[in-house]
């Protein structure tokens, strides 16, 4: 097909389109829907919601705050990464809250070792948290995928990784808040929550490379 013919075909398809809102606005919408879902899961899974009010450890709440901030900033990064011409500075946004999250966990590990000795480094089995994280990340990831498909797949692997990081971080908060008792050691959170998070980010990067592609209508492309 000649370029002139292609342009004529494209012009025929010039339907009105609504410009996408800014990534921050879209991230807010994603967060509203996803947080409502995670809160619902917390309400359904938590046997004793009053337990949360009794948690006084500032490290616990700082950890949840950092994970929550990681989720928001990763969502902004994912949604900004599908807008052509946007600065990639948005990609750096999740670094600070992620480092804070890691720091709170390191703080917890050090506290466990100083308080319990080497027993503080025991990794306990935590399958319920893994299931809670997978369940909690499912809908946010789906909503994010739908939102990302309206954008341009400029860096699909990075976009997929950011999207998965956003969903996994948010679901990690949900998993921690819905537990009947605190984690016995911080290293258990590192192993199970961060292990699940890394697995989900890897899956997100892999899936993003395959799912996010330039969707071009075959009727317009080299049909003659």
């Amino acid at each position: 097909m000649r370029t002139d013919e292609l342009i004529a075909r494209l012009a025929l398809d010039a339907r009105p389109v609504r410009p996408l809102p800014e990534p921050r606005m879209r991230a807010t919408l994603w967060l509203a829907a996803s947080a409502a879902y995670v809160l619902l899961l917390i309400a359904l899974m938590s046997p004793d919601p009053a337990r949360l009010a009794g948690i006084r450890a500032p490290r616990f709440w700082l950890e949840q705050l950092a994970a929550f901030a990681t989720a928001i900033t990763a969502a902004v990064a994912a949604l900004a990464s599908v807008i052509p011409g946007r600065s990639r500075r948005a990609w750096l946004l999740p670094i600070a809250p992620l480092l804070l999250w890691i720091a709170t966990l390191a703080w917890g590990c050090i506290g466990d070792v100083t308080g319990k000795g080497l027993g503080g480094m025991t990794v306990y089995s935590d399958w319920p948290c893994l299931v809670a994280m997978m369940t909690g990340a499912a809908l946010p990831a789906f909503i994010m995928a739908m939102m990302l498909r309206r954008g341009a797949p400029l860096a699909p692997r990075a976009t997929g990784a950011f999207a998965a990081l956003a969903g996994a971080a948010l679901s990690s908060v949900g998993a921690c808040l819905s537990r009947p008792a605190p984690h016995p050691t911080a290293i258990t959170v590192v192993a199970w929550h961060f292990g699940t998070l890394l697995a989900l980010v890897s899956i997100g990067a892999w899936t993003g490379g395959r799912l996010l592609s330039w969707r071009v209508s075959p009727s317009m492309w080299r049909t003659s």
Partner: protein, 186 residues
Amino acid sequence: MAEDEGNDFRSLMIAANGGDADAYARLLYGLAPVIRRIVGVDRQFVGADAVEDVVQDVLLSIHTVRATYNPDQPFMPWVFAIARHRIIDAGRRRVRLGSREVEFDEADVTFSTADPNIHDRDVFDMDALRTAIERLPNAQRQAIELLKMGELSLREASAATGMSIGALKVAAHRGMAALRAKLRVR
């Protein structure tokens, strides 16, 4: 000058996203040479014969993701970002395909020796060939006329003649052998 052009394109894009087909056509016709220049810079990377394909890829991509253009932002950086990514995609595709394909010059003859390349020789006396075909047995003549001259498929020739596909194959083979013998073509 370039800034004015960018502003014009931006106005056209805003109108196009509002559904103005004329503005959209003017925008794309105006953008095509700009994109061609951008892609042309990287023609070594994408392949000189693929430049126009990449230009079309970029135009299609612009069309597909036109909702991502924010009217409050400059237009040309948005176009350049799409073009840059599509050029990289095309270059990667070329490298990937190049690692699996072997290029060779298009041969103008079927064989390297002269004997089998009979087009330049005077063996094709069309009258003699026509006469030879007419003198073939009826089934062989029909098979040659339909399958070789008419380029029908075996199924179509079978439907036209009522002969089975197997019988057509045999008749065509025997007819060709008879013609070779009569015309003394190896």
